[in-house]
């Protein structure tokens, strides 16, 4: 209990913390010695694993993971110690003096390597419908194949940092750019043995929603908090870009192996897919990514006899589920690869084969392999509308003509559909709470625990509150990241935050309005109106009246003021949880999503045969979303997600060297897309969906568009094929993801080599 004020030790100067990290990706620690470092001037504290005792656990999230490496290290850059000093220079000098000896083991640096060594986290699980083995056996055509999808770095605008300040009442104030502040609080409470209630997390402004700020922020903040608790001084812990990238969760690289049976029309009759994800050094969040990959393994397509099996490899780096569309995008891409290959083998246009396999209401083709039904009409409508609106057929013909006369540059066009599950298979992430306060002038304050990433969340919530109370949005203020009022919150990425928050606002508003209505009825009656049924009271245009009484003079502000004078509680908690969610990984069945959103993308690219460089000429996206207010934010979110996906599909390479060090250690060596890489033309159509509330769809557009970017890879494949001759159309183009200029040039060489060989053979 703290009756004292929460004063901060204002006179105390901030100390600087540095991490001592492992220079090896795998091995055991044979000795540690910090004696020399502790003697250095200005050094306030040096902490190693043994100094933390039983608190050396990153709870509650990854209870099996030590905060500071104790006996083993399992990735390069893993923190082994913390050094706290008065200046950066002193901290750096002391960190260099901490002597740690390692017995180095060979590192497992990539998926292939882990597969060869059979290093896995846990057992493989499956989702099965029918009997794919038999169906494939009976099919007129079959083939087997593989697909490799690379990792991706979130690459936030600034490296991670945290500031921890002890207060006079033995509490802690933590500032850090965390996407999930409640997780930060829980982790710190467990590590410093302070009740969660005594920890105040002030989420720093976060730089957009590209991921890498969930567990990693909690981790860094916990280390800072421990140092602050030990020294009793404010601590700032700032990571270098290189170190930030080493400890940040990356997108899971994936290897898919598949066996497919299909008929002459290109209809896939049976598919058996195995997804192997790079699960990193600890299982951590990777289960979610694996679930999402398997749950999206069907893409937007119905396959009668279908099995998807998933497993996690163990490697010596860090992966996690914090990137947008993590797992889902990788999983969905496998069916696109399969259908492209089916089309090429049959000599059919790829869009025809995709269309043939889409989920549809007829022929009982509208249920996912795990049993959740698919709403097929919107998907079918978006598909045909976008093909029309983007002039797909006309442009494809024009491209064929242009390609025929241009030997150096070829263009390609492709269309890809997305069916994206809204919400998170972890049921606890599908809930939201808000606090709505009415002020006596009729203005509204909405407080929520989610952070605002500058992506329009607060505007969307303000719109909802304004609509509920019939006031102008300028009368509403939305305070995001307010953990005082709403202690529990969901992560922004991977959940339908906007939808959940709006429903929670509606819930709180309903409670407040039910308190206001009787008072309004009395006030209207007192001003001479007839007997009024409180239930008929409406709130609109800043006024309060019955539906018939449009000329009411009672303003919303007057009503709230009167309600307060009559001692009415003008604050309400709103809460919403998505009903009826379940997901059983063991049996591979469930209703894991509150629903699906649909989107379709057409992408046209141009390929430079001399350099393998790919320029996206035009992208057309049609996506479910709102067409009203807030549409500009929805469009921006979709454009950003597409950009994230295009980078992943076309040039962001992530690789580790044999020592397990990340080769891309700065903004210089890791090329996120720039202004000049953006599609030269981008058309985004938001289509309101009749069956779902509009905000519902919009929230997830930000994630499903990451997957829609795979249309660029498919278009690139078409462009590469255009270098072949009509006779050799059956030759398959092997293209990894990302299709980097180097990979494209290698594919071109490979193809021309095989063209020559097949010409010689025939």
């Amino acid at each position: 209990m703290s009756a004292v004020g929460r004063g901060i030790h204002g006179h105390q100067v901030e100390l600087v913390a540095r991490l001592v990290t492992s220079p090896h990706a795998a091995g055991s620690i044979t000795s540690k010695n910090a004696a020399e470092a502790r003697k250095l001037p200005g050094v306030a504290l040096v902490l190693l694993a043994e100094d933390l005792g039983d608190k050396n656990r990153f709870r509650p999230l990854r209870a099996d993971e030590p905060l500071l490496a104790d006996h083993e290290v399992s990735y390069l850059g893993q923190p082994v110690g913390i050094v706290v000093a008065d200046t950066r220079e002193h901290a750096d000098a002391a960190a260099a003096l901490v002597e740690v000896r390692y017995h180095v083991s060979p590192a497992t640096t990539n998926l292939e390597h882990a597969l060869a060594l059979q290093h896995f986290h846990g057992e493989a699980t499956s989702i099965t419908r029918g009997d794919p083995g038999t169906a494939i056996g009976k099919s007129p055509h079959t083939f087997e194949g593989t697909l490799d999808i690379g990792s991706q770095l979130p690459f936030a605008g600034e490296p991670l940092w945290a500031r921890a300040t002890p207060t006079e009442d033995h509490s802690l104030i933590i500032q850090t750019p965390a996407e999930l502040p409640s997780r930060v609080r829980a982790a710190i409470a467990s590590a410093v043995k302070v009740p969660e209630s005594h920890i105040e997390v002030v989420p720093a402004r976060i730089e957009g929603l590209s991921g890498g700020r969930q567990s990693e922020a909690a981790y860094v903040a916990t280390l800072a908090a421990i140092a602050a608790k030990r020294t009793g001084r404010p601590i700032r812990l700032e990571l270098s870009r290189t170190h930030d990238l080493a400890i940040t969760a990356k997108r899971h690289a994936l290897k898919a192996e598949f066996e497919v049976g299909y008929n002459d029309e290109g209809l896939v009759l049976g598919a058996d897919i195995t997804l192997t994800l790079d699960g990193g050094h600890r299982r951590g969040d990777s289960d979610t990514a694996l679930d999402q990959a398997m749950l999206h393994g069907d893409g937007a397509y119905f396959v009668a006899d279908f099995r998807v099996t998933g497993r996690l490899c163990r490697t010596n780096h860090v992966t996690g589920s914090s990137l947008p569309a993590e797992g889902a995008a990788q999983g969905a891409m496998v069916m696109e690869e399969i259908l492209s290959q089916v089309a090429h083998r049959l000599g059919l246009p790829t869009e025809k084969v995709r269309e043939t396999n889409l989920y549809r209401e007829t022929d009982n083709r509208h249920s996912t392999p795990y049993g959740q039904p698919v709403d097929c009409d919107p998907l079918q409508r978006l598909w045909s509308d976008l093909l029309n609106r983007s002039d797909f057929a006309i442009r494809r013909d024009a491209i064929i003509k242009a390609n025929a006369i241009n030997p150096c540059y070829k263009r390609g066009i492709a269309v890809v559909p997305a069916k994206f599950g809204v919400g998170d298979p972890r049921a606890e992430r599908n809930q939201a709470m808000v606090l709505v306060q009415l002020l006596v002038d009729g203005s509204v304050c909405v407080r929520l625990g989610c952070i605002d990433a500058g992506d329009g969340l607060s505007q969307r919530v303000a719109e909802e509150a304004a609509a509920q109370f019939g006031v102008h949005p300028s009368q509403v203020v939305v305070r995001c990241g307010d953990l005082h009022c709403t202690p529990h919150m969901c992560a922004r990425i991977g959940s339908d935050t906007v939808g959940l928050m709006r429903r929670a606002v509606a819930d709180a508003s309903a409670a407040l309005k039910s308190r206001l209505r009787p008072i309004a009825a009395q006030m209207l009656a007192a001003s001479g109106a007839n007997e009024i049924d409180a239930e008929t009271i409406r709130f609109a245009d800043g006024k309060v009246g019955t539906g018939a009484q449009t000329t009411t003079t009672l303003t919303f502000g007057e009503l709230v003021d009167a309600a307060w004078r009559r001692r009415t509680n003008m604050t309400a908690i709103g809460y919403h949880r998505t009903p009826n969610l379940w997901w059983d990984r063991e049996i591979g069945a469930g209703w894991p999503f509150s629903g699906f959103v649909y989107g379709v993308a057409v992408v046209e690219v141009q390929l430079d045969a001399f350099t393998g460089e790919v320029q996206v000429l035009r992208a057309d996206i049609m996506h479910q979303g709102s067409s009203a207010v807030g549409a500009s934010h929805d469009r921006a979110q979709i454009a950003r997600a597409l950009q994230l996906g295009l980078g992943w599909m076309l040039h962001e390479t992530v690789a580790w060297n044999t020592e397990g060090a990340l080769c891309q250690d700065s903004a210089r060596s890791y090329a996120i897309p720039g202004f000049g890489d953006a599609p030269l033309q981008l058309e985004i159509d938001l289509v309101p969906s009749p069956n779902q509330p509009s905000e519902f769809a919009a929230a997830s557009g930000a994630e499903s568009a990451v997957f829609l970017a795979s249309a660029a890879r498919e278009a690139t494949r078409e462009a590469i094929r255009a270098f072949g001759t009509p006779v050799n159309r059956h030759i398959e183009v092997f293209l990894p993801a990302p299709a980097t200029p180097a990979a494209v040039l290698a594919a071109l060489r490979e193809m021309s080599g095989r063209l020559t060989a097949s010409a010689a053979g025939g």
């Binding site: 979130p154 605008g157 320029q615 202004f675 990979a743």
Partner: protein, 542 residues
């Protein structure tokens, strides 16, 4: 020697007292608590940095408002200068009107989630707004290429830029007509007309701010000099042979700002080094002229040079970085060196002992080493003019020159391979001279003389090019440092670079198959973005 100085930011005077000479402007502003966010704490130049606007001079010697990256600017270099931040772009003369660039971005918060990103966009738009030469849609990329982040909505940014720059060009056009009617056309041409009627426009119509002679010593006794003449510069260099020459702070871009820099000499104040001189048979490019200024003057007469200059770094880097700085750093992946080789350029270095000219290809000696001796400084880059007369005197009729940069992304990336080619053809279409140079494949920018020799006397045909490819391939593999991948480069990347050596030469031929100097449009990009489309089309005169 003084130990304190001031600069002006957003109309307020900032005092600097004893701060280290190697501190960046960004670090200082962060320590001053400047800015409403943490933009200046740790900006990454490879992600667009933390731009400010600096009142500087352009290639024509007129005042210019240029975006610069505070993270790439050493604090003493702004002594006595005027700067603005993105939020500070309000017209104080009019009582605080928000600048249109700031206004547009404020009205569209969805184009960038982050303040840092918005600041980059605002400064890029602001600079473009006052640029007389930003007339075509295709130039927007070069102006906005510093807007780089995961949270940018690039397409919407392009829309904002198109409309804002279109408006500014319209006002420029109207002001031009106005001046012509008032018989003021000369003043307009000289840039002495206040076009927009705001505080900034008035500055542009005024006189060039000349950085004063200045010397500064910090609390650690480290020195910073800003001399005014080449002689003073050479004297200082003789006095302090280990001094670091500061032009556009290229070293900062490589992440270097070492504490043992105990003497810095800025070239900002040496007018002669910042200017370009037009001679009958050559150009002298001052080693301290920023790339933007060089492009303003030489982008038209040397299109290939302009093309590669515009793809270096981003706009705010090009506004500061100099040819002297790039060449002096001796980096092997420098993307400018190949085109200088293809243009047969020489580096003139001076010292108190005298001067000497070195061909660019011989200037580099591998792994960051150059031909530069201690106490020597790069003064000029001498660029021959290839007029019809000059070519005729050499027995040839046409010169074809081109450069290509293959990079993982279009801007702010170090190129995988940059290549530059030039051939001179005689009246029969036979090759009389050839220049072939690459960076990114050896430990220095590399000129393939054997391949060049193999081309001489041959006709400009596909067969000729294909015929020399084996020679080229062999020659590159025997180039110094070309045997194995450098650390951090994997096998496929290494193989890719080997490939590019061959394919870029082929591209050069296929882009100029006719041998008349006019390139063929190979791709379809121009159909989509119409780079030659004017941002403002004056209504046609009746």
């Amino acid at each position: 020697m003084q130990s304190r100085f001031t600069f002006e930011l957003d109309g307020e005077t900032y005092h600097v007292d004893g701060e280290p000479v190697n501190r960046t402007l960004a670090a200082h502003l962060h320590d001053c608590g400047f800015g409403r966010d943490d933009r200046f704490r740790n900006p990454d130049p490879w992600l667009g940095g933390a731009p400010l606007i600096l009142l500087d001079s352009d290639g024509h010697g007129r005042p210019a408002l240029r975006s610069i990256d505070a993270a790439l600017t050493l604090l003493p270099t702004v002594a006595g200068r005027r700067l603005w931040s993105a939020e500070g772009l309000v017209d104080r003369a009019s009582g605080g009107d928000t600048h249109p660039a700031l206004e547009r971005v404020n009205a569209h918060p969805e184009v960038e989630c982050t303040w840092a990103g918005r600041a980059r966009l605002i400064t890029a738009l602001f600079e473009g707004y006052y640029r007389a030469d930003l007339e075509l849609a295709g130039q927007i990329n070069d102006q906005l290429d510093g807007c780089l982040s995961r949270t940018a909505y690039y397409e919407a940014m392009r829309d904002i830029a198109t409309s804002l720059f279109g408006e500014s060009q319209k006002r420029r056009h109207e002001a031009k007509q106005g001046s012509e009617m008032q018989g003021n056309a000369d003043a307009f041409e000289q840039g002495r007309v206040d076009i927009f009627g705001d505080e900034f426009s008035a500055l542009l119509a005024g006189d060039v701010p000349e950085p004063e002679d200045f010397s500064y010593v910090d609390a650690e006794k480290r020195r910073f000099y800003r001399p005014q003449t080449i002689v003073d510069l050479a004297k200082l260099l003789a006095q302090f042979p280990k001094a670091i020459i500061v032009g556009g702070s290229a070293d900062l871009l490589q992440g270097r700002a070492e504490n043992d820099w105990d003497c810095l000499i800025s070239t900002d104040g040496v007018g002669d080094l910042r200017a370009l001189y037009d001679h009958e048979d050559h150009w002298d490019i001052g080693a301290a002229a920023p790339l933007t200024s060089i492009n303003e003057i030489l982008g038209q007469p040397y299109p290939a040079l302009g093309k590669i200059l515009r793809r270096f770094g981003n706009r705010s880097i090009r506004n500061r970085i100099t040819l002297g700085g790039i060449l002096g750093s001796g980096r092997q992946d420098g993307e400018i060196a190949p085109i200088l080789i293809a243009l047969d350029a020489q580096v003139r270095v001076i010292s108190l002992e005298g001067e000497r000219d070195i061909p660019v290809a011989r200037f580099f000696e591998g792994n960051g080493k150059t031909n530069l001796r201690p106490s020597e400084v790069i003064a000029d880059i001498i660029l021959p003019r290839f007029t019809a007369d000059v070519l005729k005197s050499r027995g040839c009729q046409v010169r074809i020159c081109e450069t290509y940069k293959a990079a993982p992304r279009r801007e702010l990336g170090t190129g995988a391979v940059t290549a530059a080619f030039a051939v001179e053809l005689d009246t029969k279409g036979h090759i009389t001279h050839a220049w072939i140079a690459y960076s990114g494949v050896a430990d220095r920018p590399f000129r393939t003389r054997d391949t060049e020799a193999a081309l001489i006397g041959k006709p400009w045909t596909e067969d000729t090019i294909f015929g020399v490819l084996p020679t080229l391939s062999r020659e590159i593999q025997s180039a110094p440092g070309a045997k194995s991948p450098t650390p951090g480069m994997n096998e496929s990347e290494f193989e890719y670079r080997r490939q590019l050596v061959i394919t870029l030469l082929q591209k050069f031929f296929y882009q100029h198959p006719k041998g008349d100097g006019s390139p063929v449009e190979l791709g379809a990009i121009s159909e989509v973005i119409q780079p030659k489309r004017p941002l403002f089309q004056p209504p046609s005169a009746v």
